[in-house]
């Protein structure tokens, strides 16, 4: 897949540079400027999460995750005519994570908790200044051990004479899920242990129960024992894959209301098809002693509608506001509201406190640990489908020095996130623009 992406990128550059040369010959009627590096963006982030609803263990267990990521993109801009502005952006990102639950999804049979992801991208756009239109196309790839995703997109936008802009975008993600079943993970588990507590540690194998099943949701009142497991150190396994496709059409209309206020209305329609669960997500039942992997419908339709409104108050305050209503065919309805207030302390420096509130209802197919019945057609104990609300708040600082320095801008942002499911996380991001 990476090879194809590279070949497509390479061919595109060749074709593009050919056209650039062709237009360059005709300099008598207009000026031509071939693609030149205009901007470089480097974004580095650190994410840390704790929680106690690991999906790999059926909705209980350590959810600790830490991730460090870094992405760079290079934006080239050129003209084939004073009216046509072309831009080409090539990006590459790398993320390395450590997840407690990943020990149960190991590649080799050992209890590895580490994983890597790469995500190259290539985006092109052509703006027609005279016609006030813009066309765009792009390709992104994301690859990690158990999941590969290729996304293709195309877009169009047009501005009217009254400071309004309509945009439409189509997006297709073609994914492959590696079928590492929960049963396979038995090989990863250090066996012959038992537990009576209500929490699951990395040494507890809850894949299979024997003896009397606790009647309560919590296992605290009962005793569960594990079957014998063997750790196969250094072995490797081959897994088959299954497809997942995501198709999105996104529409937007933005309008400048007055010199201080602009608003945008955004609406997406997303359809997902294929295998929409993950094969190592376990579900435990109230009427059975053994676990199964989660089972979800093979289709999901999502309909989010959002409104943004940004207002510049006086000379120093900006109010960035956002609201979104979301519903999908799995029964989730949600509301998201956020506000950010960049305060310009000087021409070069601003500080931006922000707050975001989110709430959702549960999906029709969600139930906590050991509350599903085996007679149900679909079941999951993934807490991202549960009913919860969350708060996210933090602050960002931005420094935009005058032209001529190394940086066009430097931005640092920290946020603290807390769900009512006990999931808590912190994220810090640094954005350098050259």
């Amino acid at each position: 897949m990476k090879k194809y992406l590279f070949i497509i990128s390479f061919l595109f550059c060749i074709v593009y540079s050919s056209f650039a040369q062709y237009f360059k010959k005709d300099t008598t009627t207009y000026t031509t400027k071939s693609l030149k590096l205009d901007e470089v963006n480097l974004v580095t982030g650190y994410y840390s999460q704790t929680g106690d609803h690991a999906t790999t263990l059926g909705g209980r267990g350590d959810e600790k995750v830490t991730e460090i990521s870094s992405a760079i993109d290079l934006k080239f801009v050129g003209y084939t005519d004073p009216n046509y502005i072309h831009s080409l952006t090539a990006g590459f990102g790398f993320a390395h994570h450590s997840a407690a639950s990943a020990a149960w999804v190991s590649k080799t049979g050992a209890s590895s908790k580490l994983g890597n992801r790469i995500y190259p991208s290539l985006d092109w756009s052509m703006q027609n200044v005279k016609a006030k239109t813009e066309y765009s196309a792009g390709a992104q790839y994301s690859g990690e051990f158990n999941y590969k995703s290729l996304t293709l997109n195309g877009g169009f936008s047009i501005k009217n004479n009254n400071n309004g802009e309509f945009s439409a975008k189509v997006n297709a993600s073609i994914d492959r899920v590696k079928l590492i079943y929960a049963q396979n993970m038995g090989k990863n588990i250090v066996g012959n242990t038992s537990f009576t507590g209500s929490t699951v540690s990395s040494n507890d194998d809850v894949l299979a129960f024997s003896g009397t099943r606790p009647s309560a949701v919590s296992a605290a009142s009962g005793t569960t024992t594990t079957t014998s497991r063997t750790v196969v150190s250094g072995a490797s396994y081959s897994y088959s894959t299954t497809p997942r496709t995501t198709l999105t059409t996104a529409f937007g209309y933005s309008q400048v209301i007055n010199p201080r206020l602009q608003v945008a209305v955004l609406a997406d329609l997303t359809g997902q098809f294929g295998y929409l669960g993950l094969p190592f997500h376990r579900v435990f039942f109230s009427d059975a002693d053994s676990s199964r992997i989660e089972r979800l419908p093979s289709q999901r339709l999502k309909l989010p509608i959002g409104v943004r409104a940004n207002y510049f108050l006086g000379d120093n305050f900006i109010f960035r506001t956002y609201y979104r209503f979301y519903m999908d065919s799995w029964g989730i309805k949600s509301h998201t509201a956020s506000i950010e207030v960049p305060v310009k302390l000087s021409s070069f420096f601003s500080i931006s406190p922000f707050y975001r509130y989110y709430t959702q209802t549960a999906a029709d197919y969600f139930a906590p640990f050991a509350q599903h019945k085996t007679t149900e057609a679909f079941y999951t104990s993934n807490y991202s489908y549960s009913a919860f609300s969350s708060n996210f708040f933090g602050v960002g600082i931005k420094w935009s020095p005058l032209e001529g320095g190394i940086f066009k801008s430097v931005e640092l942002r920290y946020g603290h996130y807390a769900q009512t499911t006990n999931l808590v996380s912190d994220v810090i991001t640094l954005h350098l623009k050259f």
Binding site: N41, V43, Y147, I318, R413
Partner: protein, 74 residues
């Protein structure tokens, strides 16, 4: 009238009111509108947090960002 209907009516009304107050804005009047922090889209510095929100929450989309695809396995 249910709460959701009331919300819809309020939002629609506010939006209609905003549009009704549109005035013609010339290019030279756009110094504030063109400020980078007035952009009606997510910024690159928000990329990391948008990524985990898509994974850890049931809703996604309508924010010029990702609305599906990808694993979010952890």
């Amino acid at each position: 009238m249910t709460l959701s209907k009331i919300k819809t009516v309020i939002l629609t009304g506010l939006f209609a009111l905003s549009l009704a107050s549109c005035v013609s804005v010339r290019e030279y009047q756009k110094s504030r509108i063109n400020d980078s922090e007035m952009a009606l889209s997510n910024r690159k510095v928000e990329k990391e947090e948008l990524n985990f929100q898509v994974i850890k929450e049931g809703a996604a989309g309508a924010n010029s960002g990702k609305s599906g695809g990808g694993c979010g396995c952890n």
